[in-house]
Each structure stands twice: as structure tokens, then as C-alpha cells.
């Protein structure tokens, strides 16, 4: 049940990309590919979900917990509002990143910080089903079936790779359920996602 399918690089000519996609579609039914997964995800144009996060950090007693709400609106908007243990928010709209922590607001341009862009695209690109963006930032392994799948993302950006080893994103059909982040030092965070409402199709 396990087939790694390389998706076409975005800088290859269009006909080649199309050709590879067609090959992917022609492959046996058990060979799941990125296009199929992002195709499932792309059907949702917006959504909102509760998340709980557990972070395991060496040298810190017990897991660190956080909870809040994720929401997105295709193609460009994504936000993560943390309600516990402290109120924080991160809102991404296009190229604008707005962070609020401890009552302070910071605004930044996303493309000035490629590492952050890649991390945000891992979640925003998955939620909105943007295969091209995901492939631009990560080497991707696809496992599972259309009902339950896992994407393993390894950063292409060298600087990000020194910080983040990989991301593992698990989903059920068109829903994102778990985002697992492995940091280079061995620290780890697992974000579980519970859809809050029936998402609009």
C-alpha cells in the first residue's frame, strides 16, 4: 500500500507536468498520489476546526499543551487562534503575517522569511489543497488511501531543514486530522484537529 510518488517540479514545462499527472492517474488504484490528496482537500473552500496541541520538549517536564481554533479560506487566508494556555494569534492573509502575543501586534511580510513561509504553506497549502505550493517547499511522500492518508513533508530550504526535520500530516478524506512536527533537535509537537462545523463544499 505504500508508493512514493514524486510530483512534478513546478519549474518543469507544463506538458511534462501534465504527462506525469496523467501517469499518476493511470497508476493502479492503491497508488495514492499528492494530486489525489490535494484534490480531495481542494474541494473545501473554507473551514474552521478546533485543535489541541501537545509538545514534547527535552529538558521540560511533561508535555506542553495548547488549544485553540484553526480557520482557513481558500486561497490565501489562514489563521491559528490559541486560546489556552495563553491567548495568541497568527493570521496569514496573502503575503501578510500578523502575530499577536501578550497584547502586542507584529506585522510582517511573509516572503521576507522563507523558512516561515514554508512552514505556513505546509498547513495553508494542505488545507487549501495547493499541490504546487507544497511541492515548491517540500519533498513529499504520500501514503495511505483516499479515506486515510499521510503526507510526509521534508523541507527543501536548507535553513529550514536545520530547524525542522519533517512534518507528517494525516487526514481522513477531505479533512485534516493530525499535524505532527519533528524539530531537528528531537523536540516534537502533535496537533490534533477536530472539525468544528460541517465545512462548506
Amino acid at each position: 500500500m505504500t508508493t512514493g510518488v514524486k510530483t512534478p517540479r513546478s519549474d518543469r514545462p507544463g506538458w511534462l507536468a501534465t504527462g506525469l499527472l496523467l501517469l499518476g492517474l493511470a497508476a493502479p488504484a492503491w497508488a495514492l498520489d499528492l494530486a489525489t490528496v490535494t484534490g480531495l482537500l481542494a474541494q473545501r473552500k473554507s473551514g474552521e476546526a478546533r485543535f489541541t496541541e501537545e509538545r514534547t520538549v527535552s529538558g521540560i517536564d511533561g508535555p506542553l499543551r495548547a488549544a485553540g481554533v484553526l480557520s482557513f479560506e481558500a486561497p490565501n487566508r489562514f489563521s491559528r487562534l490559541t486560546t489556552e494556555p495563553r491567548a495568541e494569534s497568527m493570521v496569514v492573509d496573502g503575503n501578510l503575517l500578523v502575530l499577536k502575543r501578550g497584547g502586542r501586534t507584529r506585522q510582517m511580510t511573509l516572503d521576507a522569511i522563507p523558512e516561515v513561509t514554508a512552514l505556513i504553506e505546509a498547513v495553508r497549502g494542505t488545507l487549501t489543497g495547493n499541490a504546487v505550493t507544497l511541492d515548491k517547499h517540500f519533498r513529499i511522500k504520500v501514503e495511505g488511501s483516499t479515506t486515510q492518508w499521510t503526507l510526509t513533508l521534508v523541507p527543501r530550504d536548507e535553513r529550514l531543514a536545520t530547524q525542522v526535520r519533517e512534518l507528517k500530516i494525516t487526514g481522513l478524506g477531505g479533512d485534516l486530522r493530525v499535524v505532527e512536527l519533528w524539530l531537528a533537535g528531537g523536540d516534537r509537537s502533535v496537533m490534533s484537529i477536530e472539525p468544528l462545523q460541517a465545512m462548506k463544499k
Binding site: 509538545r55 514534547t56 520538549v57 529538558g59 521540560i60 517536564d61 511533561g62 506542553l64 495548547a66 490559541t82 494556555p85 495563553r86 495568541e88 496573502g94 503575503n95 501578510l96 500578523v98 502575530l99 502575543r101 501578550g102 497584547g103 502586542r104 501586534t105 507584529r106 506585522q107 510582517m108 511580510t109 516572503d111 521576507a112 522569511i113 522563507p114 523558512e115 516561515v116 512552514l119 535553513r159 529550514l160 530547524q163 525542522v164 512536527l181 524539530l183 531537528a184 533537535g185 523536540d187 516534537r188 509537537s189
Partner: protein
Amino acid sequence: MTRRIGVVLLIWAAVVAACVGQILRTPFTADLSAFLPAEPDAQQRVLIEQLQSGLPARTLLIGIEGGDATARAQASRALAKGLRSSGLFEQVQNGESESFDTIGSWLFDNRYALSPAVGAQRFTVAGLQDAIGETVSLLGTPAGNAVKPILERDPTGETVRIAEALIPSNSPRSEEGVWASRQGQRALLVAINKAPGADLDAQLLAIQRVRDTFAGLGSKGLTLQVSGAPVFGVESRAQIQDEVRQLAIAGTILMSALLLLAFASVPALLVALLPVATGVLVGVATVSLVFGSVHGITLGFGTTLIGEAVDYAFYYLIQARAHGAPHWVRHGWPTIRLGLLTSVCGFAALVFSGFPGLQQLGVFSLAGLIAAALFTRFVMPQILPQGARSSRMRLAMGQGAAHAVAWLPRLRWPLLALGVAAAGLLLVQRDSLWSAQLSSLSPIKQEALDLDASLRADLSAGDARTLAVVQGNDLQTTLQRAEAAGRLLDGLVDQGRIGGYDSVARWLPSLAVQQARISSLPQAEPLRQALAEATQAGPLDAGRLQPFVDEVQAARGRPPVTLAALRETGLSPLIDALLLQRKDGSWVALLPLQPVPGQAATPETAALLQVLQPIPQVQVLEIGAELTRMYAHYLQQAQTQALLGALGVVALMAFTLRSVRRLLSVCQPLLLAVLLTMGLMALFDVQLGILHLVGLLLVVAVGSNYALFFDMLRRDPAAADVDTLASLVLANLTTVLSFALIAMSGIPALSAIGRVVAIGCFLALLLAAAFAPRARAD
């Protein structure tokens, strides 16, 4: 008589030698700051300081195009490395973050003096709980990787607190680890020159170094783009120098050809050029004496003086031919003197304007014309007492002129009708008639401006168009006001009305604030107790935090951050962009405001002022709008002065002519000439600026000579011989041709004057002849 020649020539030679001596010591400038007010108001003062010596005046914007992203990034790194080691630049930025390391450790060492969160509340149980909680919330995320190594030393996250305030809200895009444009394929660098912006030679050297270093990289397929104020300054100067030289050469050749045709004699030609040369020399030397330097545009204007000063020579050479020098001194000179006085009236208006650039033009014209007239009056009769002999061409010219003078009055009514039409057109278009664009003075080409704008847009950072400005008599007051302004601006950031702002107070808090922070740091024992309580329920064990307790103790004894210490750390470029000391010892702090990313502009100046209004002497400066406002004010002032100058000309003529009828008949063609010239400009949608206005003033000054001439002919019909008419036509021809040359100049300032005066003077002669009072004697 011979002794008199000797004395006169000796005086003249001494004057010329003195002028040349002065000119040789004169620095020539080409920056537009000469066209900024000499006595600015507080708002303008900050702006002018910025334009003249601020960071933008010595900042080069560099782009690398072509190839692929990797090639561009390599070239960017290599170029930056080469430039950094050249020693010419204070700072070279290309987006590589490695250069931040030393600054980072300095910030870390001084965190308890710099962090805005430090205060008594911070070290209570609740405060520690909150601060540690915030730091811990970063652990296990990618951002936590930066926090974790310093967790034991800085569990309250002061370093993060400082760093997040310093992250610019608008930064260039980063590609392959260096700055790159958002659209298009371009790597970006910023290089800040050590030398002041006004030192154009040093700026030229720096620009050359950028080009040479890039050429030395041997990168195939990549092209270099360099822009910024230094490039504009250097190129304008080169262009003005080139053009002034070309204009002078072309003007001299043209005049010489005309003179040769008219006099058919090389000595006469040389003598006729002497008043012009004398006038230009005296003019430049006087400007240099009065202002300490001479602006390129003033020099360019000098060539226009040829047009008027050469007339004096014509009048003398031709009129002295008929009756000899003594007769000319009695009958010809008074007319020239009156013409000179009217011109003096016109240009005196410029001298009283509030702008050094215009004052220079005024002083130059006054001194030059007076010198040329004095030369004609006192030296010419000594050198060529009999004037210059006639030529066939001049005879033909005179006869043609006589016919024209006889025929032109038939055009009175059509010309009047045209005048009325022009007045009507001007009335209809009165709102779009004048253009208040400072750029109309600048010789910078549109493509160069476009490149500059696109580089600036790509870099976005460091190019705030809106600044909050606070000032104080001493450094501490200024820093305290910057801190107060920062607190108010934080509110705007939270409301999402601005993206962020820079402030020197982030690097250099006032002593009061630093002392308050340091004195709020607790002693070891109370801190340990509070820590134990605060971390009881948390995931971080207080036992690990001994380094924190030690560092807080160390910070209590640490001297405050000073300006000198900042400079030693290599932060001078940063500080100089945000903090200036004036000559009088007072200080100015600039807080550049960044718009919300993706939005073009910050809120309205008035709205910002409203927010900042509690701070004494606060200002909000919007650079583009302020420049336009200043130029509009400048234009208005120049209009008033031109009008006063014109009134002065009329008053002078009224005084001399002592007859309302004669005055009217002299003024009529002048008024019509001005109306028709402006009408023509309006017809071709040429918006009028200050230099057009100066041109119109010249038309009045030169045109009044023509009108007076015809007035003289009416009273002394015998003087209206072919030779005299020829001198008039020649005088006009030289004026029109020399200004037509200038009209073709690529420097907008010169071509504006040229077009107006060439057209205006031609019309003035035509109209003066058409409306000449008839003597019925010929």
C-alpha cells in the same frame, strides 16, 4: 587720450583678473537643494536636512538582473563582500543575516536595559509566571529553537521582546538567502556611503567602485543597476556640466557667425564678444562671492546673458559708426541705460526671493548685465571709437527691417485679437496653467526615475515616505520624546493603522528609562523566592534558572547604554538614520512609519498629528507632499516677485517717459507679448513652472528695450536709419537664437527658460514694431 585708454584697459584687466581668480576658487554644485528655501520653517528644515545630509543622500540602491536565482544570489554575496572590504561604505546590506550576529550578542548582553517589558511588575510572582509562560509557549515550535539555548539565562524572554520590535514590518523578499524583487528577476543590495551626500566626487567614486567590483566578478549574463540620490546627483552634475559647455560653445559659434556677417570684421567680432565675456565673468564671480558656490543651473543661465549683453555691443558698434563715440555717449547710451535699469528692476525681484537658486540667478543677471553695460559705455569707445563698418548683409537686414516696420502696423488688429484670444484661453485653463512639481527642475530622465521607483518598491524597507519627527534641546529630552511618540505609535500598530515604525529609543533608551529598568531588577534572594513560587505549577524547574538570577544581578551593576557605546558596536549607520544632531547642538529623532504591508500609504498626516499631539514640538513629515507644498509656496512667491519686478519695470519707464500715453504705447506690446507667449504654452499644454516665470520676466526686461527703442525713434525720426534698424534686428536675432539653443537643452530648467524667452522676445520685437507710435517722418 592714450593715457586714458591705458587706465581704462588696466582697470578692466584688473577686474577680469580678480574675477578669474575668484572663479578658480569656486566650488560648483548641481544639487536641487539650491532650490529649497534659504530660511525654512521648522517643518521644511527637517526635510532639507534629510535631503542634504540625511541617509537617503548617500544611499545607493543596487539591482542585479539576468541569469537564474542562484547566479544572482552568488553575485549579490560576492558584490557585497567586495564592497564591504572597500572601506568606502558604512554599511552594505543584501539580506544576508550573518551580519546580524555581533549586534545580536550586544542586544542580548544589554537586554535588561533595552527590553520594554522590564519593570517592577515583571519580577513579581505573577509577572514572572506570565513572562515564563510566554517563553515556554514558544518551546517545541520552530521559533523555540532560538529560545531554547538561552532559556536558563533569559526565561522571561527579554531578548525575544527586543527582537520582535526590531523586525521590520516591510522587508524585501528573500530568495536563496539574499534580497530579491517580488516581481521580476532581480537581486537587491543597499550600500550606504561613508562620505556626505553633498560630496559628489566621493559619491562618484563609490558608484564607480560598485561598477568596478561588479565587473570584476565576471558574472556572465548578469547586469548591474545602480540608482539612488547619489547617482542622480552625480549624473545631474555631469549632464549640467556637459550641456553648459556645449551651450557655451554653440552659442559662441552662432553669435560669432552672426557678428561676422553683420560687421565683416574679425576685430569688431572680438570686441563685440568682450562685453558678454566680461558680463559672464563678473556675474559668476559675484555669485561666488555672495553665495560661496555657484550652481550649475546658474551657469547654464549665463549663456542666456549672451543674448542680452551682446545687444549693447551691437547698439554701440552700429550707432557709433554714424556719428562717433562721443555722439553715441550723449544720444545712444541713455537708451541703453534705461534698458539696463529696466532689466535690473526685473532681476532685482529674484534677489529678494527666499530661495538660493533664484537668488543666484538674480545676482548673476544683475552683476553680469551691469558689467556688460559698463564695459560698453567706458571701454568700447576707447577701443573702437568709430564703431564697426557696415556690411552688405547688414544693409539688406536693415532694409528688410524698414519694410517690415512700415508694414507691421497693419497687423495691429489681428494681433490684438490674438492677444484677447490668448487671454481667454489662459482664463479657461487657469487651474491647470501652473505646475507645482519640484521634479520640473530636475534633469533626471524618466527611465532613471522609474528604475529608482522599482528598486525602492522592491526594497520597501528603509524608504518610509512618512516620518514622525521629535526634537529637543538635548539628547535626553529628545530620546524621552521619541519614547513617548513610540508609545502612541504602538497604539496605531495595535489598531492596524500602521505596520510599524522605527525608533532610536529601541537601541538607545533615555537614561531615565534605562535607570528605571535597572533599578527595578530585584536582588538575588527575593528573585529566587519569587521564581520558586512562580514556577511551582509550571513545566520549568526553578532549580535550572540560577544563570538567570546571576545575570539579573550582573545587569544591576552594568553601566547604561550610551550613544558612544552604540557607535563602538558598529551601529552608527542605524543610529544616524534615526538620530541627528544639529549645528546648534539640538537633537532630532526621526521615526519612519511603515504602512501596513500591502497597503500603499500610512494614515493622513493630520490624523497622525492628532495622535502624536501630546508631545511638544512633534511633527509629521510626508516627504513627497512636503516637497510639493514647498514648491507650490515657492511658485507663489516667485509669481509675486515677478509681478513686482514687472511693476518696477513699468514704474521706471513711467518715471523716464513722463507721459501716460507714451507709457501705454510702450507697455502695450510687452503685455501682448507675455499674453501670447503664455497662450502658446497653454495651447501646447506646457504647464508653467518657476523657470517659465523667470523667462517671462526676461521677456519683459528685453522686450522693454525694443519698445523704448521705437519710442526713441518716434521722437528722433532721423535715427531710424537702415543701420539702426539693422542693429535692432541683429540684437533680436541673437537673443532669439541663443534662447532657442537653450530651449533644445536636455535640462528641463534651461529648456523651460529657453522656450519662453525665444518665443517671447521674437514676439516682443514684432509687437513693438506693430504697435510703435507712428512718427510719419520716413
